[in-house]
Structures are given as structure tokens and as C-alpha cells.
């Protein structure tokens, strides 16, 4: 807190139903990405790199794994005195009815006491669903320079896709004059990234008021932002340029992984000035045996390749046996591909075994196969 007087709250309660079995017993922010990371490593590392000391992680759906993971703040360097990662599932409180988080705004509302304890000037609201690198400290300087009540990060998207997003219509100074959720006729292509900086006092007041509104969805996009606009508050946009991906579907998760295979890819996870931190799993470096071959792959330590791997992302402790062929695939930690098995255009979930001789997916398939259970030969 002493660093910039801004506290971050990560909304990590989403179910991520479009990721199917990957989020069956696991919250979406804890889903694996990029050979060694989990999605939530990105907002957490961004916070650490932006000199934010205190991060609240609001969890709800299947939060056990996420709680265990995010609670260890030292992974992101968020463990000095006065800093920390606080996992905040819904809890029973004196004088109020215990209830789950009803919406994104309600999740913050239920934790006003937590935020007040740190007495921040600003609160940064993030979602735990996106892959991107962003300097929130720079966003905060803009927020201060504009003397804004709220600053919303926006991303220019192709005009033809704009109707899929929450669109911000701004004037020439960047001030937001209108917000439209998934407009049929978009007037601008600036999509909200779900990243907000609020003056805490203003937000606090609004949250308390919104909690009393009958029929409110208690949602930032649907209620809080429109209400701020209505009150004529100063809402500013902060234009983000760079890699940003919502990995909410199997296809987009697969694509984002494949993006890493490009030389000088935009995300660049190897930037020494903006490292993405994660759990370190003890393992030897990855090993390619004399029978193995690799071509155009992204491979984490602990993987053993005795077969063929091409155009793929391999996590720690993946084993590809002799004669197996893996192409255009994402193999999550501990996946075992048996001798002679074939895995094409697929995401294989953590720990899944593909038996010897089994065939998964096809190079001709347009869709990406999600494999979350053991596959036997002939299946």
C-alpha cells in the first residue's frame, strides 16, 4: 500500500462454463496456460510489476485449488511486510445475511471492510480471465492526471467484432460519454477490458447505494458504470495497445497457446523487465531422447520427449513415448502419451493418459478436441 496507495481486487469467481471439463472442478483463473502458467498469474504478476502490494482475490466457484494457489503470495513477490495476496471467498458477517457473491459489484461490496482496513485512495478492479501484460501504475498516473472518478482500460477491436463487447463511446479527450453492452450498431470499436480504477470513496458510496437497489444485477458493467455516467461523474478511458486475449473458450485458449510459438510473439513471456511469475515445480530441464524429435514447440522443464512433437505447447512432466506423434496440441502438466499414440489439434487436460496406439483428434479437424479423460486404444 505504501507504494502507490492503490489496492487491487481480482474478480476470480467466474465459472468459465465454455471451458467445459477444464473448469469442472477448477475455477477458470486457475486454468493452465503457456507451458507453465495459470491464467491468474498474469493479473497477479502485473500487480507485482506495477508496484501494487495488496491484492484481494475474490473467489467463489470451485475455489479450493485457486485458494491454495493464490494464497502463496511469495510466488509473485507479494510477500514483503505490508503486502500480500488475500483470498476472499464469501463469508458470514455480523449483522448481514450470509450469501454468495451476487455479481461483480456485490463481491466488492461484501469486502468493503477488507478494503477499508488498508485505507486506499484508489482501487483497481481486475478480472482473472485474461492473458495480457499491463502496467497498472501507468494507468493510475493517467487516472490522476485526468482527475477522474473512474478510469476504464479499453482495447481497440475490429469494428465487425465490436458488437461482441462492452463498447465505450468517448469524446476526443478520451472521456467516456456512453457505454453500450454488446451494441448491435456499435458507434466505436473501443472495448472495455474489465479493468477499472476507481477513487475508493466514490466507489464505496456507489456500492452501498447499489446494494439497496431492487432488481440490480450488482454488476460493474450493467449497474455501476451506467450509474456513474448518469451522475455525470468523470469517467476516462485508458487505451491499451498490446497482446490481450480472453481465453474463455477451448478454441481461444488453444489459439492463445499457439500464439506463443511465433518468434517475437507479442506477449513475450521472456521480457526480463516484466516477468510473469508462477509456481516453480522442481524438475530437470526438458529432455529430448535420441528417439525423440521436436519441431516448432514451446516446452517447459520436466517434459520428456521420446516421440515426435510438432507445433505444440508442452507443460512440465509431460511424457511423449516413442513412436507417438503430437501435433498442434496443448498438453497440460503430467499428460502421458503412450507409444505410437497420435494427438492432433487438441488440448489435453492435466494428468490425462493417452494409451499406446490411441488416436486423438485429427489434423483435418477444424475444431479443437478437449481431452479430459483417459483415452484407450480404438476409442
Amino acid at each position: 500500500m505504501k507504494q502507490n496507495n492503490m489496492l487491487a481486487m481480482i474478480l476470480a469467481g467466474g465459472r468459465g462454463t465454455r471451458l467445459f471439463d477444464l473448469t469442472k472442478n477448477n475455477a477458470k483463473p486457475a486454468v493452465y496456460f503457456g507451458g507453465k502458467y495459470r491464467i491468474i498469474d498474469f493479473p497477479l504478476s502485473n500487480c507485482a510489476n506495477s508496484n501494487i502490494d495488496v491484492v484481494g482475490v475474490l473467489t467463489q466457484y470451485e475455489s479450493v485449488q485457486l485458494n491454495a494457489y493464490a494464497g502463496a503470495g511469495q510466488r509473485w513477490g507479494l510477500d514483503t511486510r505490508g503486502s500480500g495476496v488475500y483470498v476472499l471467498p464469501p463469508r458470514e458477517k455480523e449483522g448481514t445475511k450470509f450469501d454468495v457473491y451476487q455479481g461483480t459489484a456485490d463481491a466488492i461490496n461484501q469486502n468493503i471492510d477488507f478494503i477499508d482496513r488498508f485505507d486506499p485512495e484508489y482501487v483497481l478492479i481486475l478480472s482473472g480471465d485474461h492473458i495480457y501484460k499491463m502496467d497498472y501504475a501507468d494507468m493510475l498516473s493517467c487516472h490522476k492526471a485526468n482527475n477522474a472518478d473512474c478510469t476504464i482500460a479499453v482495447l481497440p477491436v475490429p469494428m465487425k467484432e465490436a458488437s461482441r463487447f462492452g463498447i465505450m463511446n468517448c469524446d476526443e479527450t478520451g472521456r467516456i460519454i456512453e457505454f453500450e453492452e454488446k451494441p448491435a450498431q456499435p458507434k466505436s470499436n473501443l472495448a472495455s477490458m474489465g479493468i477499472y480504477i476507481f477513487n475508493w470513496k466514490a466507489l464505496r458510496k456507489e456500492l452501498i447505494a447499489d446494494a439497496q437497489v431492487e432488481g440490480s444485477a450488482h454488476d460493474f458493467g450493467k449497474n455501476i458504470i451506467p450509474s456513474f455516467l448518469e451522475q455525470g461523474k468523470n469517467l476516462m478511458s485508458y487505451k491499451f495497445e498490446g497482446y490481450w486475449k480472453d481465453v474463455g473458450t477451448i478454441d481461444s485458449l488453444w489459439e492463445a497457446n499457439m500464439d506463443l510459438l511465433e518468434k517475437n510473439n507479442e506477449l513475450n513471456l521472456d521480457d526480463p523487465n516484466w516477468k510473469i511469475y508462477t509456481e516453480d515445480v522442481p524438475a530437470l530441464p526438458h529432455y529430448v531422447s535420441s528417439t525423440g524429435s521436436v519441431e516448432h514447440c514451446y516446452i517447459n522443464q520436466g517434459a520428456i520427449i521420446r516421440g515426435n512433437a510438432k507445433d505444440s505447447v508442452l507443460f512440465n512432466h509431460v511424457t511423449i513415448e516413442e513412436g507417438a506423434d503430437v501435433q498442434q496440441a496443448v498438453l497440460m502438466p503430467g499428460v502421458h502419451v503412450g507409444e505410437g499414440a497420435k494427438v492432433y489439434r487438441a488440448i489435453v487436460a492435466e494428468g490425462v493418459k493417452i494409451d499406446a496406439g490411441a488416436v486423438v483428434g485429427s489434423l483435418d479437424n477444424k475444431e479443437i478436441a478437449l481431452i479430459s479423460k483417459r483415452v484407450k486404444k480404438g476409442e
Binding site: 510473469i276 522442481p282 524438475a283 529432455y287 521436436v294 514447440c297 516446452i299
Partner: protein, 373 residues
């Protein structure tokens, strides 16, 4: 929990690894692309339940201070455990630090050792890489009734290897008769793993005694003196040992572990080898990049072909480059179309101008740290 203080110690002048040792003590040598040698004895100790460990080093402490840090990566309890890095320090400025025996370092730190609440000490060197459960060995030591136990392994290539390393002479009951240096006269010898198990009380007594005998006495010298009047026994170690005592053995130990049967010992879930993470991204194979029979660490960019080699963290292998039988440390850059065989390349070096570097399997070519070739 294991009722022993762990001591990891430096080697005598009988061990010298040309090139590498100019830049760092042996404990800090890079190994298998992502480790430093000191990770192996520390991991053995913490996996054995020893959580108070003192690492004695001589020479430039910087790489080790940086690497060990607060020791959290070794899975030591942050409250009742401790991992202390103790660089050699000569208060009076007398003597030549180069010759300072391990005993002098132990003696300088004797108060800390005396205050330690464990009843035993287990001493391990940094240049012998093996995996051993010290808890079991301590039990064996206590049950045997011996005053000192020393770990050893029979080797049958002592004529060419392990030159100047400690070897044991034993009677049939494995009582140690003598500790001597391997001068390469015999094929078969009992190689000392320089791993000693004894009570803390006896350890302190021997350290004090050794100081009185000679300022040049190493711990093994005083143990050797007592072979006649103490019950000193050897314990046979059955796993694989990688002894690093010169440049060739450093090179061969790295490459030997490219055999799957040998690397298994160091990749067990139940016996992890801990090290400091550098938070680098996974390795990437770009167009034209390939590997076979090799370890490739994270953060590497491979655009050339790598065969039977170890590539350290964050190294870049250029387009068309051919690497065979090489040990390449961290953050090395190999330029386009370079051909390397039997070469050791130290950290942060660049091979950009020279297109061919060929060493000998028995006598590998060594390129120093931060050199441009």
C-alpha cells in the same frame, strides 16, 4: 526430522577444475542446465529431514549468496529451520586463504556449532553428486556403534579417474585403516565420498584437536590420525556417484546424465532436487530448431540442431548451428551456422565470429565466462 546438523563443505587443493573455478567456488558450478552443484547436497539434506544446514564456502561468495538467498526454494521451514551460507573469513588476516583448511572455517564458526541443538553432524562435499537418505544413514551409524562413519564406493577406473581424491583403506569388516590420496596406481579403489557422520561432540573435539596439531590440517587428516584408536567405519553407497574433480570429470558427469537410466536418480517426485527459479518462460524451438539426446533448460531459443548436449537457461542457438556433445551454460549465444563439438561454454559467452569450435571428448575445449569468440 533428522537429529543432525548438516554441513556442506568445500574441497581441498587436490580438487581443481580448470577454467570454471577461476570464476566461482565449486559449489556454484552450473550443472545440468539449471542447477548449481550446491543444490544437490542441500536437497539431499532437506529431503532427509535435516533442516539446519551450514554451507561453508571459500572463494567468491557472490554467485552463491545470490543463488541460495533465503533458502526458501530448498523447502526448509522458515521458523525452526535455517540455511546459513558461511564464506571463509580470516579475522587476523594471517595465513593464505587459499590454503585455509575446512577445519579453520569450522573453528571460526565453532560457537554456532556448539549452540546447535542437534546431537549429530553430517558433513557432505559439494563435488560429489549422489542421492542419499541421511536419515537412514544416521540410523545405520547409530546402530553400528561406530564413532565415525564414512560413505564410500568401490570404483574400478581409479587409474584414470578420481586422481588426488580421497580413497579409503579398509579391513574386511569395513573398519577404516587409512584415508589416502588416489595417485592413480591402482585400478580398483574405495573412493571416499567425503561424507562423514559423527556425533556433534566428537566433531567439535576433533576440530579443536586438528587446530592444535597443525594449521594445515584438514578434517580428513585428523580422522586419518584416529584410524588407529577409533572405531571408524565405511558405509558402501550403492547408487550412482558423479565425482567432479577436474574439467574432464565435470564434462563427463554432465553428459553421463543424458542417459535416461542415470538421470532417473535425480528426477524422482519423492526426492526432488531443488534450485532457485529464474522465472524464465519455457524453451522455444523456432524454425529449424531441433534436439536429440539433450537437456534444454527454460528460456532457451533453439533455431539450430542440438545433439547429445546440455543447454543452460536462457541460451540462444542460432539458425543452422550444430551443437554436439557440448555443455552450454546459461545465457550463452551461439551464432548462425556455428559448429561446436566437445565444448564447454561458460555463462554469458557469445560465439559469433568463430564458426567452428572442436574439442576432444577426453579434453573438452573450454570457453570462459563472458567471452566473445
Amino acid at each position: 526430522m533428522c537429529n543432525a546438523l548438516g554441513i556442506i563443505t568445500y574441497n581441498g587443493l587436490n580438487v581443481y577444475v580448470q577454467g570454471l573455478q577461476e570464476y566461482r567456488p565449486i559449489a556454484g558450478f552450473n550443472f545440468l542446465g539449471r542447477y548449481r552443484l550446491v543444490d544437490f547436497p542441500i536437497s539431499n539434506m532437506t529431503n532427509s529431514g535435516i533442516d539446519e544446514i551450514q554451507v561453508f564456502i571459500k572463494g567468491n561468495p557472490r554467485p552463491l549468496i545470490d543463488h541460495i538467498g533465503d533458502g526458501r526454494q530448498y523447502n526448509i521451514n522458515s521458523k525452526h529451520g535455517s540455511l546459513d551460507l558461511i564464506p571463509y573469513y580470516n579475522e587476523e588476516g594471517r595465513g593464505n586463504p587459499e590454503f585455509a583448511p575446512d577445519v579453520e572455517s569450522y573453528y571460526n564458526n565453532i560457537n554456532q556449532i556448539e549452540d546447535n541443538t542437534n546431537d549429530y553432524v553430517i558433513i557432505a562435499p559439494v563435488n560429489m553428486i549422489y542421492t542419499a537418505n541421511y536419515k537412514d544413514l544416521l540410523q545405520q551409524h547409530i546402530e553400528s556403534g561406530a564413532e565415525i562413519s564414512i560413505l564410500y564406493q568401490n570404483v574400478d577406473d581409479a587409474k584414470e579417474k578420481y586422481i588426488n581424491c580421497d580413497v579409503l583403506q579398509m579391513n574386511r569388516q569395513k573398519g577404516v585403516l587409512k584415508i589416502e590420496q588416489n595417485l592413480g596406481n591402482y585400478k580398483t579403489r574405495a573412493l571416499s565420498l567425503q561424507t562423514y557422520i559423527l556425533s556433534k561432540e566428537l566433531f567439535i573435539q576433533l576440530v579443536k584437536e586438528a587446530r592444535k596439531v597443525s594449521s594445515m590440517y584438514w578434517f580428513k587428516d585428523i580422522v586419518n590420525d584416529h584410524c588407529v584408536d577409533m572405531d571408524i567405519r565405511a558405509i558402501n553407497y550403492r547408487g550412482n556417484v558423479y565425482c567432479i574433480n577436474d574439467l574432464r570429470s565435470y564434462f563427463e558427469s554432465n553428459l553421463a546424465l543424458l542417459e535416461e537410466s542415470q538421470m532417473k536418480q535425480f528426477s524422482k517426485d519423492s526426492w526432488p532436487i531443488y534450485t532457485r527459479t529464474s522465472d524464465t518462460a519455457p524453451a522455444i524451438y523456432l524454425k529449424g530448431g531441433s534436439a536429440s539426446g539433450s537437456f534444454i533448460a527454460n528460456g532457451c531459443q533453439i533455431s539450430g540442431s542440438v545433439k547429445n548436449s546440455i543447454i543452460g537457461r536462457g541460451s540462444v542457438i542460432g539458425k543452422g548451428a550444430k551443437i554436439e556433445n557440448c555443455v552450454i551454460m546459461s545465457d550463452v549465444v551461439i551464432g548462425e551456422d556455428a559448429v561446436l563439438k566437445n565444448v564447454i561454454i561458460d555463462k554469458h559467452s557469445k560465439v559469433l565470429k568463430k564458426k567452428e569450435l572442436i574439442g576432444n571428448a577426453e579434453d573438452p575445449l573450454y570457453i570462459g565466462r563472458r567471452e566473445n569468440v
